[in-house]
Symmetry: C2
Subunit: 374 residues, 2 copies
Amino acid sequence: MAEKKATGKGLAGVIALDTAICDIDGQKGILTYAGYDIADLASNCTFEEVTFLLWNGRLPEKNELGDLSLRLTSERTLPPMVIEMLRLMPEDANPMAALRTGISVFSLYDGEADDMTPEANMRKAIRLTARIPVLIAAIDRIRKGLDLVAPLDHGSTAFNFLYMLSGDRPGEAAEKTFDTCLVLHAEHGLNASTFAGRVIGATLSDMYSAITGAVGALKGPLHGGANIRVMEMLTDIDRSGADPVQYIDALLGRKERVMGFGHRVYKTVDPRATILRGMIDTLSTERGTRKWYEMSIEIMEVMKERKGLYANVDFFSASVYATLQISTDLFTPIFAMARITGWTAHLLEQWKENSLIRPRAAYKGPRGLKTDRS
Amino acid sequence: MAEKKATGKGLAGVIALDTAICDIDGQKGILTYAGYDIADLASNCTFEEVTFLLWNGRLPEKNELGDLSLRLTSERTLPPMVIEMLRLMPEDANPMAALRTGISVFSLYDGEADDMTPEANMRKAIRLTARIPVLIAAIDRIRKGLDLVAPLDHGSTAFNFLYMLSGDRPGEAAEKTFDTCLVLHAEHGLNASTFAGRVIGATLSDMYSAITGAVGALKGPLHGGANIRVMEMLTDIDRSGADPVQYIDALLGRKERVMGFGHRVYKTVDPRATILRGMIDTLSTERGTRKWYEMSIEIMEVMKERKGLYANVDFFSASVYATLQISTDLFTPIFAMARITGWTAHLLEQWKENSLIRPRAAYKGPRGLKTDRS
């Protein structure tokens, strides 16, 4: 077998597979899901419609959307074992570790866990998309010593999640903005967690195994944690009472990195940031707190002026979640509750025409050693 | 960024990274761990010595080996939550799903789970290597309605595992043969589970996340399940009372695949098979059952004669585990209890000089679609 050495580190630039799910043009700042521009989808489609699109490669008919919504509603339950586990868990457990564990437990109570037919895998994708928000809300309320809030028998994923998390029915702007956050985070090509999921799935292991691995990858600070670090910066500015512009200038003066600006893929504007920025104003008015919004706009403007850098999706999603009073360490679990749709779409695609994903390593160690014991 | 299309499917032949852990020459049938031939290691070293070798790149001094053995002994305990979970789990749960979940739970009770210093990661590697055998034995005994058997305060991983599993102290040949199985399965380059683990670890996610993903990948029938299918064949021959040679001839006549022969990597002999074959004779005498041994030798000889194919490691490990009366669906968990050393060695190596592992996908879907709702 001819060996092809990847010139970049970590397979950078190597094309591993073909996909029809997502296309990213980083130079032009364009992101499309199955051929639709992300700005079009964010303005005109709900998270449930986008979920159908990612799984099926086309937008749903009205009855198909109604059917999916019904099925999501009917699957918003957790195995009792999961709740028991959350109650026993140390209060300070990492919520991503709790999420990973809960998803792994799901499989023990799913009689279809190892059924690899496309129909069963689609049902599992629906089940995971329905249950992960319930699991995240349960993780948060149980560790805070609060009673669980059961989901309603109707309503969107966004509405139900915010309701289960806080116990209060979210306002229109809250639901709409959060729904848009889910749309914007649903899919982003062959990132590390999606790739990990496909590597696992390509052994013909089950969907829960692949998603458990994907959640594990998303947990890594180099992948899913960026908006947490944005929030830490915003919180630091808020607590210290500093002027945002002076705070950023001081960071730049010390040559420290300002989180939430620039993007490895997008060389100009991150199209998702533009969409979110437009929504936070209305959301802030509804929630009666403009603090995070105003701070974000100030930082955005000074970064544009000083460094010519654009805010990315992490920057504005931090402000949205903060305005919704969501705990900072839930930001990555929320990323997972959106990305579950992209992950499962990639698994369904992988299994349509499966082959094992297995590159090689070049051996650079010692040779010809002997134990001298024979 | 220049895009390099991998010509093979699934990154076949693409070199993703450098390693000093393992080298495989499939043409010559040679496998080495850190420069030592597998036959030399299998004859002269214990699993604990090989574990030290994989983690440190050199064999241990006597005091280092004593220290590792002590630490493994002291870590052979499970968080009570894991045992509770196993008791509540459906009896017919997939043991690999149970193993994956148990390992994920481990992290919730490890205060060092997110400590990424090399020292903490080495301690976690020891903890995982010590606890996975205890977890597997607990999974098996609890589902069978048996009391748990506590590990001894001394003795090897192989000895303690067989003891915890059966409640009986294993004989000398049983311990030695099983120990050799662990040595032979400890490491095998950048296979799908090891690669999945490194992809997850490369996001700087924690060791438990990476190992949970690796276990999920090993669970796949294209990866870890080969000796299960060998065993299903052996069991079928045994139950039907067929003559092994006639059974194989009938399979070949129907052009069906005979499991346990040939190997994707090894084009001649799988060096691990040769080693195991030599040990099963003594083991069978000690255990007082030569059934699986004799059947395996007959099948091996007819496959050599008819097809010129050599038995691989899966073929003989199935006979070993059957002779030890281990349940067939524990074969893949046992693979994991050996490979945990290779997986963790690869993670320690990955984190020495980390970079994100993220290839690209080529977009082959529709373009320029509009929702027509604006």
